[in-house]
Symmetry: C2
Subunit: 212 residues, 2 copies
DNA sequence: ATATTTAATGACTAATGGTCATTTTTTAAA
DNA sequence: TTTAAAAAATGACCATTAGTCATTAAATAT
């Protein structure tokens, strides 16, 4: 009885194909502007078929977001590996986030979209759940850097690495969002360069974490 | 020639009425779910008339957002006045943001929407520009608190109050956004209470700013 | 060769932001 | 007061698009 297995494989493959096409279309036209018809045409399938494989448009968004979060996580990991001391690792992570924004603006927008939304009742095997899992791991990378810093004495030992990792994740996203969305306002109203705001943020974080 | 003046007054009044109605409708149904037809019906006007007074739906959103930002700013001001030392003022602002989220969740969502969007070519007299102005003043309140802290010696004097105010605004928004949108994930994946994350954040900020 | 199950289709619906020719109301002129 | 011109308001209409479902096509089993 190898036929059911083969069919399951084919179905899974088709699903993957759709995701890949959707990612191309969404990143090219922007999450909001790309329509399901666009995706269907690019995938050389009817729109109805898309809905056989994905509950709705948001599920397809989630697939793109997932790729973005994965890229971000891997950049964080590379950053951690590139630095020696714990405090340097943390700063490297910050720089990695800024690089991510610069090098992958589309993915950045996707990840920001994920951060902004509340996805209700995300089935356990859904793509949204996978995004949550990736986010968790990403925060885990931060936590590891903090722990390394506490071990090597470059980060004060009275902070809770797990909690601080979540805090850093949230506040850094806030800063990147501000720089990305309100860069012009920052310049016009506050006469500040967004880059300077970001580096000022890094300085403040470092000061808040550093031992001694 | 008093007629043009009277007509201008009436037009302005009608505009105000529409804004007030729109605010009621948007806050009741949620920004996304409320339709222009809803607003038109509530305002006892035809939909076409709405578009005589506002360019599009986003302009009406902006009116609601403006109210929200005004409330937030006034809460910040009250917080600053309630505290003595500079560092206490900063913490009070943080608490005020958390209270704003709790007491005015609809306005909080509106402000968050504003923070997330990039409004292109916002005419100088538009509501979006007014939001920008309010944001500017809100950040100004933070900057004043920081300056007070530097003066009274409770905040270290090597920070740039203007820059740090923007940084605080951005990162605090990020934390509030995380707590608001990903509270469940924080609980499920990291076994942390969002409230604890927020207070942990406040602690970290205080440590980063405090003198001595 | 036929029946059954599975996969795919695309015409259709519903919702909604936005428009515009037409109507109503107000003001100015005769 | 009557009529013409200007301003304000209307709502039927359009375009877009997410999502559905009866129908068709393809694959599999009998």
């Amino acid at each position: 009885m190898g036929i059911p297995e083969r069919k399951a494989r084919e179905k899974e493959q088709r699903r993957r194909d759709i995701i890949q096409t959707a990612e191309r279309v969404f990143l090219a036209k922007g999450l909001k502007k790309a329509t399901m018809d666009d995706v269907a045409e690019a995938a050389e399938l009817s729109k109805g078929t898309l809905y056989l494989y994905f509950k709705n448009k948001e599920e397809l968004y989630a697939a793109v977001i997932l790729q973005g979060v994965k890229v971000l996580r891997s950049m964080f990991e590379a950053a951690v590996d590139s630095a020696q001391s714990g405090i340097e690792k943390v700063r490297a992570i910050g720089r990695a986030y800024a690089d991510f924004h610069k090098e992958h603006p589309d993915y950045f927008d996707a990840v920001l979209y994920y951060q902004t939304q509340t996805f209700d009742s995300s089935g356990r095997d859904s793509l949204v759940a996978a995004c949550n899992s990736q986010s968790d791991e990403t925060i885990g990378v931060i936590a590891e850097a903090l722990k390394a810093g506490i071990s090597d004495g470059t980060i004060r030992n009275d902070i809770d690495p797990s909690k601080a990792a979540v805090v850093l994740w949230g506040q850094t996203t806030g800063i990147m969002q501000l720089a990305s969305r309100k860069g012009n306002e920052i310049r016009d109203w506050h006469h500040l360069n967004p880059e300077d705001v970001i580096s000022g943020y890094f300085d403040l974080v470092e000061y808040g974490l550093k031992a001694e």
